[in-house]
């Protein structure tokens, strides 16, 4: 189980390590730069400093995961993940500040087609129903085999793969994970639709929609597997790795699609980007805008609807206490 944890951790840390490669060439640490800036001394120095910092944390994290006593494995896992994300965030922000003087002043003009044709979702959007069907099928399966479900069964596993929370054969115990999974999938669907209708028309918009739908499948599959585990006795490592089978190719695909430079950068004002990551522009009606760090879209935090969506997420997470056994 430790090796599985290390593999997942390494993959996550490798993604943070590769951040400078995941952006179009005219963006570096969310700063608009000339396309050949990466080859300049300042560009190479910024990238190598960022990578060295992440590499040190990555190696330290693997050592900690391998050497940590079994009792402390849960805490160690949380700490190493937090460390890699925090270091990545701080280092990214630091490089963003350092490169700010190299910012290219690009045109802020936008050209728009005057069409009143209603916005239509792409045909593949119907795939968003899939995860709900998976959860529904799992519920049906559990209902039909109710008598075969053990009276008490594991519901949550610690980092070492040992069960650390149990549930009983009750409506909450059996269907709770499915309800929670449906809630998470519904939130992702709302985000996908808000992203489609609340952002500017561009090719990346379809990629974002596809990514959110794929995210729904990951969550739907994960919670369906957890729910049917007492009946089928699925090993915990399968539950942990099965969603990864979707998640890893998805992330790689998204990064490839998003980093393909097409057309000019969305001309959002430089001064509205806080640390290159947070966008706050009360004069922009868009709810979502293309990010400058190569990771898809982000909220326009000046738009009240973005806070409503975050509140919905907070409510969904908080509801776990009442829905999950």
């Amino acid at each position: 189980m430790r090796l599985v944890l290390c593999a997942v951790y390494l993959f996550t840390a490798a993604l943070v390590f590769a951040i400078p490669n995941m952006t179009r060439r005219d963006l570096l640490f969310a700063v608009p730069v000339p396309p050949d800036f990466r080859e300049s001394r300042a560009g190479r120095h910024a990238i190598s400093t960022f990578r060295t910092t992440i590499a040190v944390v990555m190696v330290a994290g693997v050592c900690a995961l391998l050497l940590s006593p079994a009792k402390l494995l849960n805490a160690t896992m949380a700490a190493v993940w937090l460390a890699v994300f925090l270091t990545g965030g701080i280092s990214f922000y630091w490089q963003n500040r350092r490169l700010a003087p190299a910012t290219v002043q690009f045109t802020r003009s936008r050209e728009v087609e005057l069409t009143a044709t209603p916005e239509e979702l792409p045909q593949f959007a119907w795939l968003a129903a899939g995860p709900f069907m998976i959860l529904g099928a799992a519920a049906e399966f559990l209902y039909r085999n109710w008598s075969r479900i053990p009276g008490r069964f594991p519901m949550h596993w610690g980092a070492g793969g040992q069960p650390d929370r149990w549930a009983e054969r009750s409506t909450k115990g059996v269907y709770g994970p499915l309800f929670f999974g449906a809630e998470v999938c519904a939130w992702l669907l709302i985000m996908a639709l808000a992203g489609w209708f609340g952002s500017r028309r561009s090719r990346s918009r379809s990629v974002m929609l596809g990514g959110m739908i794929a995210g729904q499948y990951v969550m739907g599959l994960l919670f369906a597997l957890i729910a049917v585990q007492p009946l089928l006795g699925i090993p915990v490592w399968v539950i942990a790795l099965a969603p990864m089978g979707i998640l890893i190719p998805l992330i790689i695909l998204l990064i490839r699609k998003m980093s393909e430079a097409e057309g000019p950068i969305d001309p959002t004002p430089n001064e509205c980007w806080k640390g290159g990551v947070f966008y706050y522009n009360p004069n922009d009606a868009a709810l979502f805008v293309e990010k400058r760090d190569g990771w898809g879209y982000t909220f326009n935090f000046a738009n009240r609807r973005s806070w409503a969506l975050l509140l919905l997420l907070a409510l969904a997470i908080a509801s776990a206490r009442f829905i999950l056994p």
Binding site: T107, R108, S109, R110, E111, V112, E113, L114, T115, A116, E119, G198, S199, R200, R201, P267, T268, P269, N281, P282, N283, D284, A285, A286, L287
Partner: protein
Amino acid sequence: MAQYPRIRVDLASGVPAVRQIVENLRVLLVEGQLFPGTALPSVRRLAVELGVHFNTVAEAYRQLAAEGWLDLKHGRGAVVVPRVVSPVRNKAWAEDFRNRLRGMVAGMRSQGISAARIATELRAMAKAVTRS
């Protein structure tokens, strides 16, 4: 695929976005690229696409509606309507027009554009106006 008229707004220019939208749309209306019956994008959609506030687009539509170009119906968006204009009888319009042109020419020249180039553009414009 159908080609739709386009408008361009430069948010870095000193000209307020609402004025740019009104002027862009008015050009398309006068040139007939937007004709009676044409539905314009909703305020929300146009604001998102241009990266401006909803109120900016709403104000631009209101100004054009006040000039008689658009019909704003709640829930239906903005639709171009036939516009009947009685000729201006006041002679002061010519003076006002010349003053505005002079101001624009001065602005162009202050940006380093040669007088010959400006004259060429004005001649081309005059030809286009005569044709329409």
